[in-house]
Amino acid sequence: MNLAVIFQAIINGISIGFVYSIVALGLTLIWGTMRIINFAHGDFLMMGMYATFWIFMLIKIDPLLSCLLIVMPVSFGAGLLYYRVILKHILKREVITQILATFGVGIILQSIAMFFWKPDYRIIRGNILSGTFRFVGISIGIPQFVTSIICIIAMLALFYFLNRTKTGLAIRATTLNKEAAALVGINIENIYYLVVGIGISLVGLAGNLLTNYYYVFPNVGMSFALFAYVIIVLGGLGSVKGALAGGLILGIVTSLTGAFLNPAFKYIAVFLVYLMVVVIKPEGLGGR
């Protein structure tokens, strides 16, 4: 077995795994704190991609630059609005209501995209992050490499925020026991706003990074969202470390299965791993 091929498959898996992790991170954060699964998550990813695309096409700001300056702050704002208009009102409702409400938001976002931008595939060219570098027979796409680095930075930043800052600790306290958190003076409402804002800004970041090398169209969020749901259960609902581990596992398993067994089985392998984890450790890899 060619070592270079093995390494290539692992590197491919890791690079896509980081993207899956970032998408899942926002989802698990929202679930962990609010116990709501956001079925519009993939569609916010799509909107992040379109925002990045149009910023590049219309005002010529590269995705790498628009990421922190525009896309993430706007996504954060969109998250605040999303909480205010929708999530706040379904917090105490039945699960089915929550599912339908968030799913409905997703449909609305897709329809808006379809109406304004049609189903055509959009791809950006001439962006800063393009090309490939190769060493010892292994190819790494520059967009994918930089994406992985930025994902790592974002995760470390989030980890630091949640573990070393007062606000982050307040979020964790709310996740553990919101009544107790309220009793000690934590403003739960503000926590929820913040968590949704951060969650949507993370998925906006993922969208921005993907636009460097992936095509944009109204249904693009679906594939990534599906894996995000698998990852948050695989990694443990509400677990940030679990989301990272789950994303990397998913990326590497699909890549290795595809390269060495049969590409047609790559997603079967993922779901087999998922089922194994659910049976052996139902709370997920990082869950308690």
Binding site: I16, Y121, T132, R134, Y213, F217, F224
Partner: protein, 421 residues
């Protein structure tokens, strides 16, 4: 009381009005409703819209009067055997999904009252929509669905004008033989890639069958889940298996993803040839990366000089739709003309009469704008006279490179590496 006393009179009146309306139905009827079922939204909408345009353009010609156009139905306005009745298209959106296609076919037949349907571009949608049409005994003609299995179902009301992927696969094998003979290409092994949809799987089977018949070895036969987010492992596998020629039946999304992945992983197939689909609809977005890609086609703009009728009709199409014909729109045009010809020969909107007329279709080559020998259906509803050509992207434009005797450009083999493009 009045009704009971005058039952006989009322019955006579009702029957008379029914007979009169039936007798005058064709002359009173101003339109013949035909369903046009294609993908108007979703990832495959670009191809669907080309199909609709080709179809509507054909209807415009049939409904108008173009005596200087050498197409029989263009001579007079409307369908001459139906007292000049015009065709009224009822356009429906399958959304690219088989279940929606079936639902829309049912709606077209039961609510809109169409006498026939032209559609549905994607083989998966055509499969389910034509099942509905068959149940309602409504003729269904497809222009672009090339999955061979569609005409193997024993349907009476299903007809296909386009050559199938089985035909194109055979054409490709002959192409390889010619390439080996004329250009010393030494191609022995074949690879095939597609998504695991109806079209991809059907075409794959046809390629494998044709390869076996012509003595080539299929070393790669890769299918991926539809809507996959990455093709890294697929391209890695291809790099390892290294076929001499790679065939693909892939649509927009996948050709973009495949190209970027092949570029990233430095996979350079010597020949990369497709079965249409994304090879046509993603030309602009591939922006030079698709240089030297090849595709089967049923026509090429560089054949305009060879087919005067094509030249004229293409010019008219360009004036109406601001773009030239492509493989989708021209086949859709041809299928609608074929259907209209059948309805005209049937002389009515009776579905069984239309079906019979379709089965008896015999349109000569000089009435067509495609490079086929004509339109004539076999007992399975497949046009026996269709054939394909091979075009290659050269300097940003597809040019006919095979058959060599009609080629308008010299074929480039092998394909340039990514670093050279």
């Amino acid at each position: 009381m009045f009704l009971r006393k005058n039952t006989t009179l009322l019955t006579i009146l009702l029957l008379s009005s029914l007979i009169i309306s039936l007798a005058t139905s064709i002359s009173a009827q101003e339109t013949v409703k035909v369903g046009v079922l294609h993908t108007l939204t979703g990832p495959n909408a670009p191809s669907g819209l080309h199909n609709v345009d080709g179809c509507l353009f054909a209807i415009d010609i049939i409904n108008g009067e173009y005596p200087d156009l050498a197409i029989d139905l263009a001579q007079t306005a409307g369908l001459p055997n139906l007292n000049g009745a015009k065709i009224e298209p009822i356009v429906a959106n399958s959304q690219g999904e088989p279940e929606f296609g079936a639902a829309e076919a049912e709606r077209l037949i039961t609510l809109s009252g169409v006498c026939a349907i032209q559609g549905a571009q994607l083989s998966g949608v055509t499969k389910t929509a034509s099942i509905v049409a068959e149940r309602y005994r409504t003729p269904f003609i497809t222009a672009c669905s090339t999955s061979p299995g569609l005409t193997e179902r024993g349907f009476k009301y299903f007809f296909r004008t386009t050559p199938t992927d089985a035909t194109f696969s055979e054409n490709f094998m002959v192409f390889i033989k010619d390439l080996n003979k004329e250009k010393n290409a030494n191609i022995k092994t074949i690879g095939y890639i597609s998504a695991n949809n109806e079209w991809g799987v059907g075409t794959g089977a046809a390629v494998v069958k044709a390869a076996e018949r012509y003595g080539f070895s299929v070393v790669s036969n890769i299918k991926w889940p539809e809507g996959t987010a990455d093709l890294d492992s697929e391209v890695l596998t291809l790099k390892r298996e290294n076929p001499d020629i790679l065939f693909a039946a892939i649509l927009d999304a996948d050709i973009l993803l495949f190209t970027s992945t092949a570029k990233k992983l430095d996979y350079n197939p010597p020949v990369f040839a497709g079965f249409g689909g994304g090879f046509f609809t993603s030309i602009d977005r591939l922006a030079g990366d698709n240089e030297h890609y090849m595709t089967r086609d049923v026509f090429s703009l560089d054949l305009l000089d060879q087919i005067p009728l094509l030249n004229k009709v293409n010019q008219m199409y360009k004036e109406s739709y601001n773009r030239e014909f492509n493989g989708d729109s021209i086949r859709s045009f041809t299928a609608m003309m074929t259907l209209a010809d059948a309805i005209n020969r049937a002389g009515s909107t009776d579905k069984e009469a239309i079906r019979q007329a379709l089965a008896e279709t015999n349109i000569p080559a000089d009435q067509l704008i495609v490079t086929w020998e004509g339109v004539k259906f076999d007992e399975k509803g497949q046009n026996m006279l269709g054939r394909g050509i091979v075009r290659q992207m050269l300097d940003g434009e597809y040019k006919t490179v095979w058959p060599f005797e009609v080629a308008t450009a010299e074929i480039v083999f092998p394909m340039a590496n990514w670093s050279e493009k």
